[in-house]
Amino acid sequence: MLEIKNLHATVSGKEILKGINLTVNAGEVHAIMGPNGSGKSTLSYVISGKDGYEVTEGQILYNGIDLTEMEPEIRAAEGVFLAFQYPVEIPGVPNVTFLKEAVNAVRRHRGEDELDAMQFVKMIKAKTEELGIAKDMLKRAVNVGFSGGEKKRNEILQMAVLNPKLAVLDETDSGLDIDALKIVSDGVNQLRSDERAILVITHYQRLLDHIVPDFVHVLAHGRIQRSGGKELAFELEEKGYAEYGVAAE
């Protein structure tokens, strides 16, 4: 599904990613762990195509197609989803309007008929019920006045509605208390499937108690330093990132 080969990327002329190699297959959940400043968020922005994150070398192959020159909306329509660390507020735009625009933009890209208002309401109602999300969240402006937990739940709702093939969760646990963490993780677990690959980016092991990964990679200094099974996360929790040349915080 996702094959990252020797990926180098710069932000404002500074090289942050220095040769990442990573393969993620459908049905797998991979965790990328690393200290602050290791390039975790940069990796998620490079995969999703944010302006200002420039790939200088290497490839990001997604089902065999190189993403690096593709506009973000095309990547999204092709099934690449980023759950933001800091979901953005959009004043005056009701969440439901935003979701409908997104769903129909993706459907148009796929050559499918757009959903009309009735069909959309039916679909969104089913999704909110599955995820246990209060309906009033749909009427409120996108992320405006949302608590940290609500923002993250809104990300999961968007993921459920857009049904991506590759989901990148960037520090989904940040700003969540333990109850909110559990709700959000349950949402993600509901969306695990054989057709979907999930990349979980996190600083702490605690998220991985809830979203149990198949593989764990340690990212430091812009490179993947080590890969292993889920037990690697526990080791990191215990020993910290010191052995990768990073001082304890």
């Binding site: 302006d51 593709m70 506009e71 909306e73 999204a76 980023l82 004043p91 402006a141």
Partner: protein, 487 residues
């Protein structure tokens, strides 16, 4: 080519198609000779079979107009207007001596309105409330729907040319009472050569049973449209009125200089909404309508209210300041505005709130969006008179810039002669937020659509003021107006 460049290219290809109201209706017309003179003024008056007093008033205005210099204080830049290079009267031949019943209207004209999406038939709308329409085509009203039904409740809704014949006392009493012919050069010209427009009279205690609307269409080439609208709301009455405007795409600039006067008596309310979508000119700034309009309401009675809502997306140049004179004690004035300019469009718009009575209140919410190489000015006056004890104003004025070649300016004028009056002014200017755009694009929404969403959100407070059906239209219009703004 990057995706963004591709988008821009694509939009360029469609630039000439994006203004979907730009078509021309091919019908025979009857025009006055080109140019402006006393004879033309007499010609128009004779065409309408007007009483002597009205001809005299037109001539007085015309003679005064000759002495007035072009206004020079506004921001928009444009070459001097050649008033002799325009037609001041043009009407479809089939209209003959005046508006007819619906089944007599030229099928070509009916087709035009159908294409514009304006219902010129008396049919209940699915959404419930029917809308009565007065259709003004170039210099004449071609049809007015639901007239009979409205008259059952005593409401008069007809072309102003008809009102002059039917209820001359009302017209004589109120026309020019809010906007005198000496007000400004464009209003003065209108007072001399106005051709048609709508007249609304809501009797005492009547809540108008349907939305009223007038649809202005300029069709003929080199023709100015000078419409005149007069709405009178008697004690305790209410009316909601909407106007829409479109014109074909032409390389020459065409002049549209209108006057709208509103009058509310005690406890009466007028809600006046405008969706202005005159042809804005092409992407290089060629052509488009000069929209020079004087709109003013007089809250004559106590506890009366006038509310202006405008969505201004069209015209090469917009120059308008829908205003309220708050004369009656406790009267309320509101101004809600969205102005969107793209390419080379220029807009100088805002409002005047003149507080004369005690405890009068006014509220101004202005949202300006500039894109492309366009330039926009919010200009607003709040004046608290010496007797306006306890008067209050709140002004919020937000500007959003799309791209780095456009401009936004805010010029508030505040004059207060009363110590008890409170005036609040808040203003912001921001660039469209890249983080928001990336968030939306990451969900599959293309850049232009993403901008439209953010802008619609930015304008929401004003869009909510529009009657529901028009709010939906206006949202689409926001999107269309911003096409090609990325780059």
């Amino acid at each position: 080519m990057s995706g963004k460049a591709q988008t821009i290219e694509k939009v360029r290809e469609f630039t000439d198609e994006k203004y979907k109201y730009g078509f021309v209706t091919d019908i025979e017309t009857e025009s006055a000779p080109k140019g402006l003179s006393e004879d033309i003024v007499r010609f128009i008056s004779a065409k309408k079979d007007e009483p002597e007093w009205l001809l005299e008033s037109r001539l007085k205005a015309y003679r005064h107009w000759l002495t007035m210099p072009d206004p020079e204080w506004q921001k928009p830049n444009f070459p001097p207007i050649d008033y002799q290079d325009s037609y001041y009267y043009s009407a479809p031949k089939s209209v003959g001596d005046g508006p007819q019943s619906l089944d007599e209207v030229d099928p070509e004209i009916l087709k035009t309105y159908e294409k514009l999406g304006i219902p010129l038939f008396e049919q209940e709308r699915l959404s419930g409330i029917p809308i009565a329409v007065d259709a003004v085509f170039d210099s004449v009203s071609v049809a007015t729907t639901f007239k009979a039904k409205l008259e059952e409740s005593g409401v008069i809704f007809c072309p102003i040319s008809e009102a002059i014949q039917r209820c001359p006392e009302l017209v004589k009493k109120y026309m020019g009472s809010v906007v005198p012919y000496t007000d400004n050069k464009h209003a003065c010209l209108n007072s001399a050569v106005f051709t048609d427009g709508s007249f609304v009279y809501i009797p005492k205690g009547v809540k108008c049973p349907m939305e009223l609307s007038t649809y202005f269409r300029i069709n003929a080439e080199n023709t100015g449209q000078f419409e005149r609208t007069l709405i009178i709301a008697e004690e305790g009455s209410y009316v909601s009125y909407l106007e829409g405007c479109t014109a074909p795409m032409r390389d020459e600039n065409q002049l549209h200089a209108a006057i709208v006067e509103l009058i509310t008596m005690d406890d009466a309310e007028i809600k006046y909404s405008t969706v202005q979508n005159w042809y804005p000119g092409d992407a290089e700034g060629k052509g488009g309508i000069y929209n020079f309009v004087t709109k003013r309401g007089l809250c004559k009675g106590k506890n009366s209210k006038i509310s202006w809502t405008q969505v201004e997306t069209g015209s090469a140049i917009t120059w308008k300041y829908p205003s309220c004179i708050l004369q009656g004690d406790n009267s309320v004035g509101e101004f809600y505005s969205i102005a969107i300019t793209n390419n080379y469009q220029q807009a100088d718009t805002g409002t005047k709130m003149i507080h004369l009575g005690k405890n009068t209140t006014s509220r101004i919410i202005s949202k300006g969006i500039s894109a492309g190489k366009s330039d926009q000015m919010y200009r607003g006056l709040v004046r608290m008179g010496p007797k306006a004890v306890g008067a209050r104003n709140y002004t919020q004025c937000d500007s959003l810039l799309v791209g780095d070649q456009c401009g936004a300016h805010t010029v508030p004028y505040i004059e207060t002669k009363n110590k008890s009056a409170v005036v609040e002014h808040e203003a912001t200017t921001s660039k469209i937020n890249e983080e928001q755009l990336f968030y939306l694009r990451q969900r599959g929404i293309p850049t232009e659509k993403a901008i439209a969403l953010v802008v619609n959100g930015f304008c929401r407070e004003v869009l909510q003021q529009l009657p529901m059906e028009f709010a939906v239209e206006a949202q689409k219009l926001v999107e269309i107006s911003l096409e090609g703004s990325v780059g």
